[in-house]
Amino acid sequence: MRIDLTETSANAVAAALLQARRKAGSPAMGMVLTLIVVTDEAGHRDAMRAASEVSTEHPSRILGAVRGDGRGRPRLDAEVSIGHGASGEMVLLRMTGRLVKHPVSVVTPLLLPDSPVVVWWPTDAPADPAADPLGRLARRRITDAAAATKSRTQVLAQRARRHMPGDTDLAWTRLTPWRALLAAGLDQHPVRVTGATVEATRGNPSADLLAAWLRTRCRVDVDIKVSDGPGITSVALHSAHGDIALTRPDGRLAMFTIPGEADRPVALPRREVAELLAEELRRLDNDDIFEDAVQVLARSGAGASRKPARRTESTAGSTTVTARKTSTKKRSGKAGSKLEKKAPKKTKKQQKARA
């Protein structure tokens, strides 16, 4: 059922929710969390759809905070809907005028008592999510560096410097299948990792995070190379015995390489936002591993080790093998790692200069 409220107040919205639930004949609430989706008029439809898909796994009250034009009289319009295929409740809150600056006052009466609050910024997020007024309400703040529309290459690095427990990014969530396969590869072949290479499209935040993670875990230098994508196209762990590698040129099917064994195909499709969100909501405690990776980024600045790749290396697919070989050689010499250490400072300076 759907209730439209124009020029309303948050209290009226709360009353409408209660009424809708009563009318549906189910006074019981099985909802486990409140999910606040901070979005705009252009993006709210997709975001709310993704959120409602997640709601079948995590029954929740979804509050879509749509910030409209900041000029003029403060005004709140709301759209309350429950039971549209989702198991929770959905409210779209359109704020305009000066109200745009006070979304917390709208959201506060609508939070589920005592259960966790999660804020999700589907596209652009504040530079410091934990300090954001809506972000402060939440136990978990989900951003998506890959969906940022502005200053995409630095957004992750900026956020990394201000990282607070409870912050998480979908660029990290996208990595779970990659990380799982790499870990499984090392389970099977427990070799000493001497270096690693990640290839991805330019400015891919997931690639930065993957490299940072490998750096903290294996304590080796990690190369990031630019490829034509889509997304991450390959990652290789180098060792004296050869590479443990995953190569995914088409964004769907990857080749899994283990030293001394035939290559094997493995499905590694790029996941929908709803799936990523569902994974995020499965755990609401702090993700220490992500924090470690982010701290590496904060120290070095994202893309610090990114070097302009030579033409032969930049094309994905058949040439990746040669690209990997050259980098292995480089890793074995000390000169390579020195270069690596110098690089971050430079970029930091550059960023400062730009700011």
């Binding site: 189910s26 019981a28 099985g30 898909e53 997640v54 079948t56 796994e57 995590h58 029954p59 198991s87 969530t173 779970t176 299948p177 990380r179 799982a180 396969l181 790499l182 870990a183 499984a184 090392l186 389970d187 099977q188 427990p190 070799v191 000493r192 990792v193 490998l214 875990r217 294996c218 304590r219 004296a240 769907r252 099917l253 899994f256 283990i258 064994e261 035939a262 094997r264 195909p265 493995v266 499905a267 590694l268 499709p269 709803a274 799936e275 569902a278 994974e279 499965r282 755990r283 993700d287 220490d288 591993i289």
Partner: protein, 508 residues
């Protein structure tokens, strides 16, 4: 160089799923219903969720003149028709390279030699590294043949760090003697830790939640005993008849088919003491302890009931009676409904009867555990006010509509003080595209990971038969069971049985 620990693993990193190591699953009984509707789709769904190792292989063994691609086609059709997650070409390609088929009879030496070669070839080509699980989705009468052949051809043992496991499905025998026999056959070849008995009920999220519910919360455990609990009802009702399972079902009956495994396992989870940890050994110990404390009624005639469905109407459809089903003898004495009362002789449960019932062609399909509490010792209301007030109950809904219901009294709105029972419901999230796994997915993955907590060991199986044997043999001496109309909630004798204890069945 010493082998370092895997630096990418960290107990704090709870996002990383456990992916099974390189291995293969060898499926006996490829053409069976279970294989096509459950096992093959489960394998695909696991792959789709990224939980199978690259290089995983699925080997089919059956008496069919098939090539590898014919087998692949069978799997393809089964996956298309029954898989839970969406079909993805890339997942299919990952799996398809690992399909093998070995034709032959269970007694055919050549076929098993061929299987041994196939397995070796997989180790070579797919890197399965000698790790193979044999899933016996076949009638138990073939177990000796197959298990013997596996031993004969060196398939039952592996070298180095590799493993061999065998998976068997219920029924684990038809009484204590046959269960022991069956176990002797299997354990002669495979060590106990390599034998996985699948009771798919234990793979269900809701069943596992029984443990979470009991041991993660502070507010239920204090009342979880004879001081507060009046009795417990465990129900598994099916709306369907025996369908195509006539050959298996007749002579087995409801008690052996369902109570021995599903219901007694559920009862053990509801009644057991808290395990010191959730590892397989501790869980098993507690389950065994409580099953060993179960006492069958002295008067089987008074505290058990059975029945057989007669023709009638179920859910708006006219259906035939059990004896009219295909391949069922006209005067079959197999019961399709069974209800028994059990008592647990320990401090926690003394005097609290557990009523277990199951049946086919009942009112609707439902599995639940209802813990019914005693009445409040004193009610400061007039008798008329509490006339409609029943007993508090906590119901764990196992399937469908998974969740928990709490039933308690509340005041009826209005001026007079009048009390009536109300329900408070908690519902689990529905099946999300990728996340809520089927029981078989969980169990197959656990087999491949070698994770045994959810699999009953033969001690538990034997204890269950010890509980059930006196009852089914008493029934066997007394001819045919009474009948109940299809679509009802069972025979009258079942209502009388529980009425003798001044109680009544819940309508689930």
């Amino acid at each position: 160089m010493t082998v370092p620990e895997n630096p990418l693993r960290d107990p704090q990193d709870r996002r990383l799923p456990r992916i099974a190591g390189p291995c293969s699953l060898v499926l006996f009984g490829v053409t069976g219903d279970l294989s096509r509707t459950k096992l093959m789709p489960a394998v695909y769904d696991l792959a789709n969720r990224g939980l199978l190792p690259p290089g995983f292989a699925l080997v089919g063994f059956a008496r069919r003149d098939w090539a590898h691609q014919d087998f692949a086609k069978v799997v393809y059709d089964a996956v298309k028709a029954h898989s839970r997650t969406p079909f993805r070409e890339e997942t299919w390609r990952q799996l398809a390279e690992g399909f093998r088929f070995v034709p032959g009879e269970f007694s055919d030496d050549k076929a098993f030699a061929n299987l041994a070669r196939t397995v070796d070839e997989l180790d070579e080509a797919r890197g399965t590294a000698g790790n193979h699980a044999f899933y016996l989705s076949i009638p138990p009468k073939f177990f000796p043949d197959v298990v013997g052949q596996l031993k004969e051809h060196g398939l039952a043992t592996a070298e180095g760090g590799a493993w061999r496991r065998v998976v068997v499905e219920k029924p684990f025998g038809r009484d204590l003697a046959s269960a022991r026999q069956l176990n002797a056959v299997v354990s002669d070849v495979f060590p106990p830790h390599a034998v996985f008995r699948i009771d798919h009920y234990l793979g269900k999220e809701t069943v596992q939640n029984v443990l979470a519910f009991r041991f993660a919360n502070a507010m239920f455990e204090p009342v979880w005993n004879a001081n507060y609990v009046d009795h417990v009802q465990i129900t598994m009702a099916e709306d369907v008849g025996i369908g195509g399972r006539a050959g298996y079902y007749d002579g087995i009956g409801a008690a052996r088919d369902v109570i021995q495994n599903h219901l007694l396992q559920l009862m053990a989870l509801i009644a057991m003491e808290d395990p010191t940890s959730f590892d397989a050994r501790n869980l098993r110990q507690e389950k065994q302890k409580v099953l060993a404390a179960v006492r069958t009624p002295d008067r089987i005639d008074l505290h058990t009931a059975r029945g057989q469905y007669a023709a009638g109407w179920q859910g708006g459809k006219q259906v035939i009676g059990y004896c009219d089903e295909d391949d069922i003898p006209n005067r079959s004495s197999t019961e399709t409904y069974a209800a028994i009362r059990l008592d647990i002789e320990n401090r926690r449960w003394a005097g609290v009867p557990f009523y277990l019932r199951t049946g086919k062609r009942l009112g609707r399909r439902v599995t639940e555990v209802a813990v019914v509490f005693k009445r409040a010792p004193h009610l400061p209301f007039t008798e008329t006010a509490t006339e409609e007030l029943g007993q508090n109950a906590l119901v764990m809904r196992i399937q469908p509509d998974e969740g928990v219901t709490l039933r308690f009294g509340a005041k009826v709105p209005g001026t007079a003080m009048e009390l009536r029972d109300v329900n408070m419901d908690f519902a689990y999230g529905g099946a999300f595209v990728e996340s809520s796994p089927e029981a078989y997915e969980r169990l197959i993955l656990d087999v491949l990971l070698g994770d045994p907590p959810l699999f009953p060991q033969h001690e538990e199986v034997e204890l269950s038969w010890q509980i059930l044997d006196p009852i089914v043999s008493w029934w066997a001496e007394r001819g045919r069971p009474g009948q109940y109309p299809a679509g009802s909630w069972g025979p009258e004798s079942a209502d009388e049985m529980i009425a003798r204890d001044d109680r009544a069945w819940r309508r689930p």
